[in-house]
């Protein structure tokens, strides 16, 4: 209130002040022009010493109601002619003109007095003064001041009267809203609502909006809480699940380890056993085979064909057993030996073995497709054995077909690159694929394809020792593909 009152007052004062200044300036300007006109009209009167003519000129100033008096002085300051409105003939005290100054004026006594030098054709000829009353202006200014004061008082009064109403209708609801907002943000109690306004104005709109916003906040808050609780519960559940799973896993791992250890021990025992057994079994076999042969050579002519046939069969059986023992020995050697890993050219190994096989049976028509330059990281001796077995198998199981195709390459299709050896021979029934790698397991009869059933078990051992995997795909009579990784 105080501020606005002061502002209003200041504004009024500024306007009045400006009015005063500008009016004064206008009055002086006006007077100056009148002085110039009157002065130039009186020049000849001064020069030719005709005061009455000068007085006549001055009397024309009667037309200006504000002009109180005027006069003309000669160059040496003597009064020459005068005019005064109320005919009192008083000559006021004149301010003097400084050197080089044409005109000067002075405000005082409710009037403005202008003194001007009369110059004719560049030569000073006399002086004229005019006195004009400022009463009119001051009266107007007083009126302005009065009006401003009244307006100010009235507006302050009105403001005073309106203030409580405004307070009640506008300020209080807003303040209330602010308080509620503060309360809510402090206590986080979203069930609080503002008192709705019964007037249908902007304030009530604000209050309603505020309340609906609070309802929304409350709902959101509730939803948030529920979600949080749910989440907590879920987390709890998952954590306990995880803990349980972890426990189980740890148990399994421990068991696994135990099993592995047991397996390891079992394997070792087995290896030792097979080694010693093979050695021990060899000796009698050699005896059987040797003596049978000796019998055949020395007394063969004494026996009839049946007898010879029997002896041959004995020999064959002994030889077969020998091969079996050899394979077993190989198997155990594989597992017993230490591994030295180095970079080697698998393709070269395959090629070499393929050549050997071909050399061993030159009549067979077999096409080898060997991918060049495939390197591997592994034990050269063991890998040679593995390749020998795999290629040997392929060679063996394609012998029934007149022409065969054996491939060696690398297969990238399943993400992990795997070497493969593929043949288009007898294949195998995929239903029995689990038995492929079992020791002494054979999927074919002895009269179809000879073999001990140890080969693939050996290969598997070797591959596993390299940390790789081996698996096979195949179909009956459509060939087989053995994949392995290292």
């Amino acid at each position: 209130m105080l501020v606005s009152g002061a502002a209003l007052l200041l504004a009024c004062a500024a306007f009045i002040g400006y009015d005063l200044v500008s009016f004064r300036r206008a009055a002086v300007y006006n007077l100056s022009i009148q002085a110039q006109i009157a002065g130039s009209n009186a020049v000849s009167a001064i020069l030719f010493d005709d005061p009455s003519s000068a007085e006549k000129t001055l009397s024309a100033l009667q037309a200006s109601p504000n002009i109180v008096s005027a006069g003309i002085l000669t160059l040496d300051g003597r009064p020459f002619a005068a005019y005064s409105r109320n005919k009192d003939g008083k000559i006021p005290v004149l301010p003097s003109l400084a050197a080089g100054q044409d005109e000067t004026y002075r405000f005082g006594g409710g009037a403005v007095l202008l003194v001007r030098s009369i110059v004719f054709q560049g030569k000073p000829t006399g002086t004229i003064y005019i006195q004009s009353s400022m009463e009119g202006l001051y009266a107007r200014l007083k009126l302005y001041a009065g009006i401003s004061a009244i307006v100010l008082a009235v507006s302050l009064l009105v403001a005073l009267l309106i203030s409580p109403i405004v307070q009640r209708e506008v300020a209080r609801p807003i303040v209330q809203l602010a308080e509620i907002a503060q309360l809510i943000s402090r206590d986080k109690n979203y069930s609080v609502r503002a008192e709705p306004s019964n007037t249908h104005d902007e304030i009530s709109v604000l209050v309603d909006a505020f309340n609906s916003m609070l309802t929304q906040i409350q709902e959101r808050d509730g939803a948030l809480r529920r979600a949080r609780d749910e989440l907590e519960q879920k987390v709890h559940e998952r954590t306990s699940e995880l803990t349980r799973a972890n426990l189980l896993l740890t148990q399994e791992v421990a068991e696994h380890k135990r099993t592995e250890e047991a397996l390891e021990t079992a394997n070792k025992e087995l290896d030792a056993f097979s080694y010693s057994v093979s050695h021990d079994l060899r000796a009698p076999l050699r005896g059987i085979d040797g003596f049978s042969q000796a019998l055949l050579e020395d007394y063969g002519d004494k026996l009839d064909s049946v007898g010879q046939d029997h002896l041959q069969r004995v020999r064959l059986a002994a030889q077969r057993m020998s091969t079996l023992i050899d394979d077993l020995l190989k198997l155990s050697r594989v597992t017993r030996s230490e591994m030295h890993r180095e970079q080697l050219d698998l393709s070269a190994v395959v090629k070499a073995i393929a050549e050997e096989l071909q050399h061993g049976a030159p009549s067979r028509n077999v096409t080898f497709v060997i991918t060049e330059g495939l390197m591997a990281d592994g034990d050269p001796r063991l890998l040679r054995v593995a390749i020998e077995n795999l290629l040997g198998n392929s060679w063996k199981y394609t012998s029934a077909h007149s022409c065969a195709r054996i491939e060696f390459g690398i297969d990238q299709s399943n993400g992990r690159p795997a070497y493969f050896i593929r043949d288009d021979g007898a294949g195998f029934d995929p239903r029995y694929s689990e038995r492929l790698f079992g020791a002494f397991q054979r999927l074919h009869a002895m009269n179809e394809f000879p073999g001990t059933g140890i080969g693939l078990a050996t290969v598997q051992r070797i591959i596993r020792k390299h940390g790789g995997e081996i698996w096979a795909e195949g179909e009956v009579e459509k060939g087989a593909t053995f994949y392995f990784t290292l």
Binding site: V43, S44, A45, L47, F48, D50, S53, F120, Q121
Partner: protein, 203 residues
């Protein structure tokens, strides 16, 4: 226009001079001193000082037509025809003045032909009898004629000095001026005692 200050009388000392001589000195001094006014505030100029000033001021309120100005030179001659009543006063008052950028010079002439290039010409009372010839000689010459000669303005002159209520005033013959190609300012006319618009009536 110059103003004269009043001077107080000199009182002679009474001690070392004989009474009769004292009186003589008193009267001599009295006669030597120019006339004074007891009221020191009111300086009074002599008649011809005023008239000389007026001659100068007349020149400031007159416009010469191109035809009238054609015969004039680069100066502004204010001339006196005939017996000169001004004397040195005229030169003193006119010295250093100028009108319309032209230097004012005082000149004395005795023949009309010599006056042809004058701007303002004061015809002395001594020429009263020759006035007609003088004026005829100045016909259409663009010369502002001023004089004290009685009925000057009725006789074809332009400005005639008159004395009214102990003041030097003047009458104007507008027609004479217009005939000579001169335009007199209304400011001048309004302070004239009379403005005639008559033809030259002759002598």
């Amino acid at each position: 226009m110059q103003h004269f200050t009043a001077e107080s009388p000199v009182s002679a000392s009474q001690d070392q001079v004989s009474p009769r001589n004292r009186l003589l000195i008193f009267w001599v001094i009295l006669f030597l001193i120019p006339p004074f006014n007891l009221r020191a505030q009111q300086p009074k100029a002599s008649e011809f000082e005023v008239k000389a000033a007026y001659l100068y001021n007349f020149g400031r309120f007159v416009q010469w037509s191109p035809a009238a100005a054609s015969a004039k030179g680069s100066s502004f001659p204010i001339c006196v025809f005939g017996q000169d009543p001004f004397g040195a006063i005229l030169d003193t008052i006119l010295s250093g003045e100028s009108i319309d950028g032209k230097a004012v010079v005082a000149k004395r002439v005795s023949k009309a032909q010599d006056a042809l290039d004058c701007r303002v010409l004061y015809i002395s009372a001594s020429e009263d009898s020759h006035l007609k010839e003088i004026l005829a000689g100045l016909d259409k010459a663009g010369v502002l004629t001023v004089s004290d000669i009685p009925q000057f303005s009725q006789r074809g002159g332009m400005i005639q000095f008159v004395v009214v209520a102990n003041k030097i005033r003047f009458e104007v013959n507008l027609t004479s001026a217009q005939d000579a190609g001169l335009t007199l300012s209304s400011d001048l006319l309004k302070v004239a005692v009379a403005v005639r618009r008559s033809q030259q009536s002759g002598d």
